[in-house]
């Protein structure tokens, strides 16, 4: 932005902004603390920036699917290459492998989870996943643009293939600010214009 400020106004503005940003960080820390306090019981409402510890309806392990079995991210998150949204796999994708009589798993817990998926399918019900990755509503993040630029999913989402329970990578997105996004834009020397993402 090519407009700088006169000194007097700048001093006031810096104070205001600093005060504002401190308030936001405080909120974030409180929320994190709240989530962690609630974590062991698995009854937390779940927040976006910490562990979700058992709040998902199905205990879906990315580590087994994306890790051990090396399923490509885009197999399930099918619209990342052509849409602003990466997409959540429909229940039919799960059933592609996990329909009755198909892929079996060793552990009892795993088998129980698969049966729960089958139950959702048979009832024609959607699976109400709790959202983990979220940017604020006033941010327009286009997945396909970033995929097209050659980014790998793990660069922003972290080592998903190692995560049993999905969580946002730390410190990436840790404070919910855009600084982390901007640092990559600076590094890659792409646009840092506000209205590219905020409109």
């Amino acid at each position: 932005m090519g407009v700088t400020r006169k000194i007097g106004i700048a001093a006031v503005v810096v104070t205001v902004l600093a005060g504002g940003s401190l308030a936001f960080v405080q909120d974030g820390q409180d929320a994190n603390a709240a989530a962690q306090a609630a974590a062991p019981t698995g009854t937390s409402t779940g927040n976006n920036y910490g562990n979700d510890a058992g709040i998902q309806p199905i205990a879906f392990p990315h580590a087994i699917h994306a890790g051990t079995n090396r399923i490509d991210c885009a197999y399930c998150h099918y619209s990342a290459e052509r849409s602003v949204s990466a997409g959540i796999p429909p229940v039919s994708t799960c059933m592609g492998c996990h329909a009755a009589g198909k892929v079996q798993v060793q552990s009892d817990q795993g088998q129980q989870q698969i049966e729960m998926v089958q139950e959702y399918w048979n009832d024609g019900e959607t699976i109400p996943w709790v959202r983990i990755h979220k940017v604020a509503d006033h941010v327009k993040f286009p997945h396909m643009r970033h995929i097209n630029a050659g980014l790998d999913c793990t660069q922003c989402h972290g080592p998903v293939q190692e995560m049993g329970v999905l969580q946002q990578p730390d410190p990436a997105w840790g404070d919910g600010k855009m600084g982390w996004c901007i640092s990559c834009h600076v590094e890659q020397d792409v646009s840092r214009d506000c209205t590219v993402c905020h409109y």
Binding site: L17, S85, S92, D137, K140, S191, V196
Partner: protein, 1022 residues
Amino acid sequence: MSADMSSGIKRRDFLKVVGVGGVGAGLTGCSTESAEKLLPYVVPPEDITPGVATWYTSTCQGCSAGCGVWVRTREGRVVKVEGNPNHPVSEGALCQRGHASLQMLYAPDRYAGPMQRVNGELQPISWDEAETLLAERIQGAAGNVLFVGGAMGPTMTDLVDQFLSSVGGSRVEWEGLSEAPLREATRIAFGRDVVPHYALEDAEFVLSFGADFIETWVSPVEYQRGFARAAGVDEEGRKGEFVYVGPRLNLTGQNADEWVPIPAGGEAAVALGMASVIAGRNGNAGPYAEILQAYSPEAAAEASGLEASTIRELADRFQNAPSVAMGPGVAGQHRNATAANLAIHILNSVAGNVGSRVRLVENAQSAPARPYGEVEAAIRSMASGGVGVVMVHGTNPAHGLPPASGFNDAFSEVAFKVSFATEPDETAAMADLILPDRHFLEAWGDASPRPGVFSLQQPAMESVPHFDSKQTGDVLLSVATRAGSPVGPATTYDHLRDRWQNLHQSVGVAEDFEAWWRGALKNGVVEVPVPATEEQVTLRQPDAALIFDAPAFDGDGEFVLMVYPSSRFGDGKQANSAWMQELPDPVSKIAWHGWVEIHPNAAERLGVDKGDMVRITSPANQDGVELPVFTYPGIREDTVAIQMGMGRENSGRYANGNGINAMTLLPAEAEQPSGGLVHLATRVSVVPTGDVYRLATIEGSDSQSKRGIAPAAYIGSLGHSEEEGYEGEGEGYGGEEGGYEKKPLEEMQMLGGFGAVEVEGKAADWPLPGSDRGDYADPETPRWAMAIDLDKCTGCSACIVACQSENNVAFVGEDQVRMGRDLGWIRLERYYETVDASHAGTLDVRHLPMLCQHCNNAPCEPVCPVVAAYHTPDGLNGQVYNRCVGTRYCANNCPYKVRVYNWYSYADVPEPLNWQYNPDVTIRNTGIMEKCSFCVQRIREVQNKAAVEGRAIADGEVVPACQQSCPAEAIVFGNIKDETSRVAELAENERTYRVLDELINTQPAVHYLKKVTFHEVEDAAH
């Protein structure tokens, strides 16, 4: 949309949250506490990719013009309606009522489901029970079933007729804006029972006797485009003339070059006077030679109050150029309206316009419009107990007909009354059973707007889940079966396909039906060429006795009353759309309320001014109605005018209580021989009440005060100016005379960044020298700019609603508009230069669309303390909503007053109206400034698409919502740094100027091309 839709319920659940950035996306802060759910599909529909829009082609049913539309859907819900570029009627444009259909789809007042009236109260009832009940009643009616319908497409009309012949009954049609006199006049004159098609684009002299072809007349989008092409100056400096003859300037009239303000009812005399001059030379009068002899220019002058020389001169001009004349329209529908229309047909015929600019081709597909005369018979039948079951569909006679017609009482007499209305209206308020129809965006149908044009309508989404509606065609078919009189195929969809199979056979293409059908659905329209021989028509011997004299008016009041259709509500159909209520009327700029137009001199005589309440009484309404005055120079001193479509009492929350129903002042009379309802029939008395009403209006002033905001260029001055580019601008600011030197960046920073730099002031001079760092350094970055041709802009206001629809611009309500808090991102300014109701002469009204100018030197940018307003690398004046803290300094500084502020969270609207919101645009809460963004979401979408496809953006690929909607093709947008772009070319046009730029050096990116006049304008600032 395929008929075999699976996973319907699962999609409905998905819609509750709508994934990423969906409904309800707004600035609720960066709260980290609330968990959102992500609900995937169970089985994903093939045609939906989350985050990517799916488009369906359909046909608008907002009025009977039948414009083809493209409907944009996101995740299974409709978010925008736009014109279909492949459709011959709309050609990609859409009027404001078409956009309003989106709000009508999601209207919170729609019926929740079928209802039965029990002891005066509406109780919910299941479809099964309702249909069984109706079937029983129909069987009991023993053939006395009456179907009262509005204009329906060919398939629906056929289906209803089949139903009625099966169960026994008859149909009458009541369409509030029907052109029955025009149709009858065409039949008498040429033997064709059609409404003619007017090829305005081929004319060089357009003559309107009151026809509001820009607003509601016959096919407003198409005619507006044709008119703009004819009347907008072309590259060779040629421009069509437009003369308007009539007692009141509607918006169409305001675009004329000359106004001939004849008394109401004098059109026939003028037309015949002109025709007699022309026929006197070329002898083309045919069977009307005697009549034309009786209407010599002198006789016509006496009858119309004009000079004979005026009539002769008009006749000369009409004959010497490719011309077209159009009749008085609904507002001018008086007791001799058929004769008036016939007189205009005679004029067109003797001048040789018929067959070229006036086209008459038999339209075999749609039934002739039934006139009010038939409704009269139906009313008598109902009143005398001759009707056992009455069903009302797509029309609202209880509000649209004058009370003197007796419709309400007669309707109440019928034993069993059914309404298919989607939302409450005055007729449904009397119904015993309500079977809510689907909105056209969620239903099947078709239209045949013109001969040879067959337009399809398909559901663009599943029916809105809040409302348990069912397509009326399906209801009738089910009821017929239950009543023991089954009709053909089981669904409307099947009927539609059957009829289109016939069309397929008659078209005679090699493709099989299924492939052709899919192609037709995708294209939206099938065009069948009409044989050329049909075009040769000549005047026939009249078979009806016609009186060409001025009609009689009831009563002895001082003023003649004109009741005219609304370009926002039609005859009231879109009254319950908040967008339409808040859209300032294009003529009066008043929102949310009614008014009566009175000439300023007449108002002065009465002792009233704008806003003063008056009581208007007529013989048909002795109690009268009360309305605030709007002083309007564009109406004769002996005439007053009131808009139709208001005064709703049993409609929804946005319509009720606004204005009065103008039809209550009229008698209920069928004009002979057409049977059309007379609208121009009575005189009224106007008496001040002493009260005052504070009107909600966005009009600041109707005069430019010589500020050169909307200057015009005399046609004689075009092509003579030596300098290209901006008129009156010097070599640049801070040029040789100014003495400013270019300062290096470091020195500028020490000065706080306000050192002057030398530029030419053009929009393309961005970024400014010294500021081209970082993001701003890339020379490939575009500079977005716009050009608006004021010679084409008609002031119709479609752009305003298109912008509102696209950008989630909220409506604020009457109180807030009174306080000046309306949120329009674009507004239409209207300035009078020459408006004289006392005699025929020059007319000059200027329309100026005003939006954010995205100035290079924007006054709003340096004053934002948090840099929410700043200038982007690609030249937009950016507004970052999440940074804005609401000081409102930017709005204060803006000289164009285009920045608007959210004083409240206006965007919190009742469900499901919020479903209309565009997920690609952030919704603004209280405390945030907003303004036109040049549709930045569309710019980014095209940029993303081009980057992914690895190509450059083509000129014209980014189309903002206003440009897309404009029927007059007045707006052009693009990258002005690209010298081959249209906007760069238009920016260098000799007519181009920028508003206030010379005065205040804002260097806007919006270039305006001056309106061209046939008269000399006072000075450059005018």
